[in-house]
Symmetry: C2
Amino acid sequence: MYFVRVNMTDRTYQVTEVPEKYKYFAGRALTSNVVADEVPPLCHPLGPNNKLVFSAGFVTGTSAPTAARISVGGKSPLTGGIKEANAGTSWGADLANMQIRGLIIEGQPKEKDQFWGLHITWDGKPKVEFFDATPYTKQPLSAVYPPIYEKFGDRVSVCSVGAAAEYGYSNSGVCFNDQSKRPSRYAGRGGLGAVMASKGLKFIVLDRQGAPGVEIADKALFEEGRKKMIDALRTHAITKPKGGLNSYGTAILINIMNEAGGLPTKNFTSGRFEEAPKIAGEAIFETNKDRKGKEIFNHACSPGCIIQCSNTVYAEDGSEITSCLEYESAWSLGANLGISNLDDLAMLNQLCNDYGLDTIETGTTLGVAMEAGVIPFGDSKAAINLVHEMGKGTTLGRILGAGTETTGRVYGITRVPTVKGQSIPAYEPRAVKGIGITYATSTMGADHTAGYTIAPEILGVMGKVDPLSPEGKAALSRAFQATTAFIDSSGHCLFIAFAILDIASGYQGMIEEINGVLGTNWTADDVVKFGAEVLKVERKFNEAAGITKAADRLPEFMKQEPLPPHNTVFDVPDEALDAVFAEL
Amino acid sequence: MYFVRVNMTDRTYQVTEVPEKYKYFAGRALTSNVVADEVPPLCHPLGPNNKLVFSAGFVTGTSAPTAARISVGGKSPLTGGIKEANAGTSWGADLANMQIRGLIIEGQPKEKDQFWGLHITWDGKPKVEFFDATPYTKQPLSAVYPPIYEKFGDRVSVCSVGAAAEYGYSNSGVCFNDQSKRPSRYAGRGGLGAVMASKGLKFIVLDRQGAPGVEIADKALFEEGRKKMIDALRTHAITKPKGGLNSYGTAILINIMNEAGGLPTKNFTSGRFEEAPKIAGEAIFETNKDRKGKEIFNHACSPGCIIQCSNTVYAEDGSEITSCLEYESAWSLGANLGISNLDDLAMLNQLCNDYGLDTIETGTTLGVAMEAGVIPFGDSKAAINLVHEMGKGTTLGRILGAGTETTGRVYGITRVPTVKGQSIPAYEPRAVKGIGITYATSTMGADHTAGYTIAPEILGVMGKVDPLSPEGKAALSRAFQATTAFIDSSGHCLFIAFAILDIASGYQGMIEEINGVLGTNWTADDVVKFGAEVLKVERKFNEAAGITKAADRLPEFMKQEPLPPHNTVFDVPDEALDAVFAEL
């Protein structure tokens, strides 16, 4: 396996063997360790000393199911701390098949407004060529992917950044192609798109032709694990074919969270949105049927996925508006803005994909802008205009592009739903206490994927616990955060958790897959230890960057404003929050 | 002495005796202790739980010379930490004469866009009445002071906030009248204006008629000290009548700092500005003479000042453009922007006074905006337009009003001269190392007044030390910071330091004045101890607010970009920075 280091200051690169220290790291474990080892914690995130690190997971690129995740790491311009964001895409599988364990982008060119692309091919080992990407800038990504595919061939995978990143927005993601060559799968959170663009880098095109693929140390063990994993995913009600996620996509959660009173509405002033059913997964499914959309059941974001939860939203004439409209996006751009027009909501989502914006951060930013009176709540056409402002880099667009916290500061708003500078996603912590602990304490800023306690608190995975109670939730969040750090390193999609937490053989299968690939003898204990070590490394970086436990807190208003319909505040004591990492 | 607590939630007030704990606190010591005791460190600075605290110094309101300082404290919207900013004004003397040791503004009204004024009179004890101040909003302060004086009489003193504060800008100061009823003396740094406005408070009018004045425990001792202080101030070259400050104002430093290569120019890309002489104190003096301005020699900002360093800048026709154009303002709005047109520079200063903006933060913000290409360096007319945008609350104006760091973030700029969110003032730390240590470690964010090592490093006060050397500067900054915290509590203007650090009897005089007022037996050792305790209280608040030693650093670019003409970087080791407070 290789480390490929690309120096954007002088446009050179180096290919080396993976250093000994990193031999048993991949995905998030790899990106976070490289960032911790090599990035000065106090560097400017958009300056020459930050680095952008790509790594696929241990089993990415193999035949393991639902395992095409690519991790992207660096110092975040949004949080000022360490960041790992991941996405499911053939790009991850291709990177792994080219045996690139770490792709590390360093330095910064002197010239501004000139952008480059990398074309990485296999020539006995990875080979990097640079191409001028400036002609592709300041356009919607859906307009530039076709010519890129034309230039490099249908079999390549494409990573890119959009206009948002070119403008240096703290809200800008790193984009990857889906199975239909759409620029739609995002390592979205934390502004790593701007880090990539700050290095003058617009595209990374992978052509895996001739590459040897992922080496597997113990094929029989791997195969055994893989089968267990497949069985678990095919059995569990949430993950099985034509199950919850496959039929309705992640937006199936809209009605569920609304029912639970935990669907943040109109900039976190209520936990219930009257018009929620209009933007729910069920509504998307029925609307697509009515409109005779090409795909009614959902598709896979990346090769080898069993869950296949990515939807497409079609217009009245049956043409595609966007793919994929996730729960978090339907929430942030819908309920959180008081918007229930599904077509406009889908368009908002598509604009985020085209401009390279994180949908969650965009929606929460517009929520704060609405609270500031920039546009009214519920005005979907005005919201579309605001996202266009962001995409055009206007003065107003730049404010919004800087994210929710900055927008709150610019408009002097106090109800600003952020932790460590990153906005709170689609699950109200006043109604679901465990997820609030994850938001508060995650090394990533507010992030549901960092420790998805929604599984037990709302979905009854591992048995149901009371979402409104703070009891025992610190331990729950801690366990989820550690396990998640491992899953994020495995290459599997986090959604395997639904199946493997309920079906023990699935969990065992995950471990066997990885032991098969690496030739290790890891146990279930090692999973948690490994994850905890990743968290500790991230935590240490954050401390050196000036982020302490005082930042492990939800915003003041959530402790003081009762949230309808339960009329509860976030009442987890600070001591419980501090215990999450103290007892790790 | 009294504590007056005004609750803006329900517009009530309470007058009590000063609590025992605060009996020997005044000025900064009082505001910082009340904030530390009563304000939750993680509260939103513009929310109902922040407080705004006013306190005059120990000898303010007495006949002690150069001692009319008023301290304003609270949690800063700019730094997120504790803030004390002070100004020289009759308002401070009046507050002290009304025996109000602490005026504490609490709570927040539900209605937005409605503003109130307080009219505080003496009726056997302090009496507070509320008046509707909404009609005075969104206007230049120079337009609203005359009707306020008309309404309440010529003898009142007036504290106010301008439009910048009404808009909630993190760059907005608390304004006080000068001796000619101008709204021109600012507790400017850190955004406390927005805190005041967030409480629905626009004015605090003091009418001291009938008030008993400051009680003096030992009049003979006080008188002895006062005479020593007067002698020192009248003797020292910098502070004496027709001396440096009286003749040329603080802007005398323009040529001195330029000569030293430490005048930050064009957003901190050089330490020397070719056109510096055009905006220097000498130029102001000569121009005023040519233009037959009313006051050629400078005037006092507040009653009883010997130094009298406040200048006025006159237009060609002899009419007044602004007062006072300080060194830091002439630098921030001049050299830092590449602007040398004195009339336009004076107009920029006046607009800041009228809109309620801190001149330092405004200039550094415009510097970053110029670097971002919003307007060109050196374009003074365009700069004037930008300040008008701020005053009007336009979209662009709001970005700039949020301060330098936010503007940098919005435009994706990496050369952003801030520490703890507050911009670096008029002395280049790469050319003057000691002041860089003060910027880095001050509890206030970058602040030259927190520990003015310029006195020895540039002006030779206490003997000259090499500004370019980092040696011994941590100890120097520490000593200055502690002594300053005491002076900021004494009620004296910081400029007494020039005289009392060179003339031992002056230093003794300061202590005797205070012992005379309080009936204490404090010694020179107690001065440093007292100051150190204030710093520790502030530091503790900041730590609880999430500000740690990782924030005690200058921005990355100052450690990496050599600054012409000396081509030096800021090379004080982190260990020396950490030692400032570790050894306090």
